[in-house]
């Protein structure tokens, strides 16, 4: 999910039909610049070098999302769509359309990860199965400590912990207790108790991706949850 305004210019995005480093390339109608779907960066055209700002979003089920947001709208379907794809996801040897190589052997190419990118450029990938097993983790990257955990929605959320706070533990009621005694509600990032009550943690967008694709974009990414 991106904000599609760059400076004062609102962009209208379409699908270019191109592939670059195994990711889909979008284009904008206003300038004909090309944008990577995975990272929102302009790789060609007048706006090359610019980036679309990521907006936090979540993946959930319709039932769960509607229960939390009864007044939600949903995109109307113009064509019938259904689940299921090709056998692609289950084929460990098929990396990308053209048989890409895994650029970084720290994880298998098809290992599913949740990736978080910090504004300064540091990046972290957490192995999905590890995160599911733990329920949530705290990890350090780029001088910050991140809380990465499941939300009630079934998605994964990431928050930057306040400066100086480097640990947190999940409580029985589902909140996270930070090392400074603050209690955080994970679906919102709201601090609901303790010395920082009333504050909201800075939320960072989370990208779910195959490792080989994430690693090709963020070759210096930290990895958490490797066997």
């Amino acid at each position: 999910m991106y904000a599609r305004k760059v400076g004062e210019q609102t962009l209208t995005l379409g699908v270019s039909g191109n592939l670059w480093k195994d990711v889909l390339v979008l284009y904008d109608r206003e300038t004909d610049s090309l944008w990577t779907q995975l990272s929102g960066d302009a790789i060609d055209g007048p706006l090359v070098g610019k980036s679309l700002q990521e907006i936090p979003s979540e993946v959930s089920t319709w039932a769960e999302w509607k229960a939390r947001h009864p007044n939600t709208v949903v995109l109307k379907k113009s064509v019938p769509v259904g689940p299921g794809y090709l056998g692609y996801a289950s084929d460990p040897d098929m990396l990308g359309m053209f048989g890409s190589k895994n650029p970084d052997q720290r994880l298998g190419g098809k290992e599913m990860i949740y990736g978080v990118r910090l504004p300064g450029g540091a990046a972290l990938a957490v192995v999905e199965s590890y995160l599911e097993e733990k329920g949530g983790i705290v990890a350090s990257v780029g001088g910050s400590s991140l809380l990465i955990t499941g939300s009630a929605a079934g998605g994964v959320v990431a928050y930057r912990l306040p400066q100086g706070v480097a640990a947190a533990a999940m409580q029985q009621d589902g909140t996270w207790k930070l090392a400074d005694g603050s209690s955080v509600e994970p679906s919102t990032g709201n601090v609901v108790g303790g010395p920082r009550q009333g504050e909201t943690l800075e939320r960072l967008p989370v990208t779910r991706a195959y490792w080989f694709a994430w690693a090709s974009f963020y070759p210096r990414s930290e990895v958490v949850g490797k066997e």
Binding site: W20, L26, R208
Partner: protein, 108 residues
């Protein structure tokens, strides 16, 4: 965000012949070098149809269109909640929408 490489599985389905034995040769595609990696021109622009003028449903009409366990991408700005079926996003790849005053691109 979606499994990024699945988006080109869609392209694969469109481009490759149903004949199972046919091998698709990427060298036959036009390409352009960008930052040291080739960008392949696989399909014409807009052959995968992004959504430019989205319409929305709410309430009972929304429920009638959706299955309870259908995966959705949801966004909430504290006031407005908007959801997009992931099955539908797989088909369109990007939806040009507004979240309050903010122009957004829903993509997975």
């Amino acid at each position: 965000m979606k499994l990024p490489a699945l988006s080109h599985a869609l392209l694969l389905a469109v481009v490759v012949s149903p004949v199972a034995a046919q091998v698709f040769d990427p060298k036959s595609l036009p390409k352009k070098d960008i930052k040291g990696s080739p960008m392949y021109i696989v399909l014409p622009r807009d052959e995968i149809p992004a959504v430019f003028e989205p319409e929305f449903l709410h309430g009972e009409a929304a429920d009638a269109q959706m299955e309870p366990h259908e995966p959705v991408l949801g966004v909430f700005d504290g006031v407005t909640a908007r959801a997009y079926s992931l099955w539908q996003l797989d088909h369109h790849e990007v939806v040009n929408d507004m979240l309050g005053d903010v122009p957004i691109a829903a993509t997975w």
